[in-house]
């Protein structure tokens, strides 16, 4: 078996175009003005459901809460036949085993945050141990956070090495790298961090932890999608994208899908390459689907509490 040489940081990995913030904002504003017809809307809503990483990342998470969330992942709304399941459940490492057991036999993946989530303020050895623990417990995907402090200090090599070591610790699990764009200063930083993460071995790049405001926004996501596109043009390798935090309405989710389709194209319109990190989005999408089916506006009272 061919041994992959360890990746080494090179300053050229950060070379990229300067980001025109006004241009990005104007471009994203246009994604919100597309006319989507009823049939496409329904397809978009169902695809959104399939792309959701149903998430609970609270200090108060318990076995019961995680089991309940897993049940929801498999039974989004039993009153309607033929609904898909969500893509994955996203939990803390200590709940991976519970989730794995609850989701046995289904195609729903278990994603686990790791590396001293959400701040990432810990020693590398602890972050690696955190990652290995989650993988050993059965996590299919690891959501790591980068050291934003080091990134802002300009210690790019440190951040690069950290991501590369976590990637090595992941084994077969897919690695999502959270940039926490709300803590990066500018869209230029977002571009730089995206390139760094991809070069260091990220399978997915992800906007936010959901613990910081602002979380995912259309402009930040567009910059990341364009980084993925440039990487694809250069290398032919596809990288996944996961906006997380603050996407709670179907309308906004559809705006994201429009942006995805117009930036990366139909190949990425699949849960393998695009995810929504969200907790309340699922119910909102279900209410929209119910509205299309029943012809009247819905109430949250008739959908499961999550």
């Amino acid at each position: 078996m061919k041994k992959i040489p360890p990746a080494v940081f090179k300053p050229s990995m950060l070379a990229g175009p300067a980001i025109d913030q006004t241009g990005v904002e104007e471009r994203t504003a246009r994604f919100t003005k597309r006319s989507i017809k009823a049939v496409s809307k329904m397809q978009g809503l169902l695809l959104t459901l399939r792309m959701i990483d149903l998430t609970t990342l609270e200090g108060k998470d318990s076995v019961g809460k995680v089991e309940q969330l897993c049940y929801k992942a498999l039974h989004l709304h039993d009153a309607f036949e033929g609904l898909p399941t969500v893509a994955a459940i996203c939990v803390y490492p200590s709940h991976v085993r519970t989730a794995k057991k609850a989701l046995q036999g289904s195609s729903v993946k278990v994603a686990s945050v790791a590396t001293a989530f959400p701040s990432g303020q810990s020693h590398l050895s602890i972050k690696l141990a955190d990652t290995r623990f989650a993988v050993e417990e059965g996590a299919d995907e690891i959501d790591m956070v980068i050291s934003r402090g080091k990134f802002l200090e300009g210690e790019f090599a440190y951040v690069f090495d950290e991501i590369a070591s976590v990637k090595a610790a992941c084994g077969a699990a897919r690695l999502k790298v959270i940039l926490e764009t709300g803590e990066l200063g500018s869209l230029d930083d977002v571009r730089k961090a995206s390139q760094l993460a991809i070069a260091a071995g990220a399978d997915f790049i992800k906007t936010s932890t959901g613990k910081i405001q602002p979380a995912a926004t259309l402009p930040v996501t567009l910059v990341m999608l364009e980084t993925i596109r440039d990487h694809y043009y250069k290398t032919g390798t596809m990288i996944g994208m996961k906006p997380a935090g603050g996407i709670s309405t179907s309308k906004l989710a559809l705006h994201y899908l429009v942006m995805l389709n117009e930036t990366l194209g139909a190949d990425w319109m699949d849960p393998h390459w695009f995810r929504f990190g969200a907790s309340s989005l699922a119910n909102n999408v279900l209410m929209q689907i119910a509205k299309e089916r029943e012809g009247c506006y819905q109430s949250a009272n008739y959908f499961s509490v999550d």
Binding site: G295, C296, Y297, Q298, S299, A300, N301, Y302
Partner: protein
């Protein structure tokens, strides 16, 4: 010599009132507001079903805060509405006259509305004591029945543009409900001006939402909306009433019919109108006798 007209008058834009904001309709449609002679006096928004949906979302979000407020505080806010209305009386009288009321009738309509806000301001913290009960039961329980607001109420406003609107809105708010009002189609100017009064009277955003437009177009959507708890209808069209009752069955909404024709009468104001928009919750609380004297807690 006649003085030349050298200034173009600035006509007011009447927009919708949703969630404490004055947005234009998302549909971009407008309707002409006409004066009594049929001349166009302003453009009004013609609300779409999506505006209706936004209004319901705003009303639902505002419900918890409004109904958990101390009852006397709700009374203070209703009183404040009356004060602000009094301060802007001339505007309402002028608007009513523009829409065809005589000076006397316009004055009576405005004064009546102010007095009605005061009337219901007083009732805010009193109807509970009158209508709640401690019930006699045959077991060791205290048994209470207390009033609770129904929730989000959709009001199809009466044709009386200010007094009638106030007479249906005030009991709804006094009881801790939030409202989405579909203004009368022919005379909707005062409804939006009233929104400006509400907006400057400490009424939290979303507690009252006011839409102008076609009643026939909005009615099915709002009557079938699963997040609406009650409908108030004031006209006497049996077909509309029956349509409301049918459409309300999806989530068992209450349909309340207040078919008053003259809102200036005293019988058009009553704490029973507050009660029409209340649910009764009964609670059983176990009691135990702890001493020989029969004292209990």
């Amino acid at each position: 010599m006649k003085k030349p007209q050298n200034r173009i008058s600035v006509l007011k834009t009447y927009k919708l009132y949703i969630g404490g904001q004055f947005p234009r309709t998302e549909s971009g449609r407008s309707i002409a507001a006409l004066d009594a002679k049929g001349n166009k006096i302003a453009n009004l928004c013609m609300a779409s079903r999506k505006d209706g949906r936004e209004a319901i979302v705003a009303a639902r979000a505002a419900l918890g805060g409004w109904n958990q407020r101390a009852a006397n505080n709700r009374g203070q806010i209703l009183y404040r509405i009356a004060e602000m209305l009094e301060a802007r009386k001339d505007q309402f009288i002028a608007e009513l006259q523009l829409q065809g009321l005589s000076r006397v009738a316009a004055l009576a309509e405005t004064n009546g509305a102010i007095d009605r806000w005061i009337y219901y301001a007083g009732w805010c913290d009193k109807y509970q004591a009158l209508f709640s009960t401690v019930n006699p039961v045959a077991s060791s329980h205290y048994n209470f029945s207390v009033c609770e607001p129904m929730g989000v109420v959709t009001i199809f406003a009466p044709t009386s543009p200010l007094l009638g609107l106030t007479s249906v809105l005030a009991p709804c708010l006094a009881g801790g409900n939030t409202a989405v009002v579909i203004a009368d189609e022919k005379r909707s100017l005062c409804a939006i001006s009233l929104a400006e009064v509400l907006n400057s009277s400490d009424v939290p955003g979303g507690v009252v939402n006011i839409l102008t437009g076609s009643k026939a177009e909005l009615l099915p959507w709002l009557a079938e909306h699963r997040d609406v708890n009650a409908l108030v209808y004031t006209e006497r069209d049996p077909a509309t009433l029956s349509s409301l009752r049918t459409r309300a069955t999806g989530n068992l909404k209450r349909v309340i019919h207040w078919p008053y024709t003259n809102w200036s009468l005293n019988k058009a104001q009553s704490p029973h109108l507050i009660m029409d928009l209340q649910e009764i919750k009964t609670t059983w609380h176990p009691i135990q006798q702890i001493t020989g004297s029969g004292a209990s807690y």
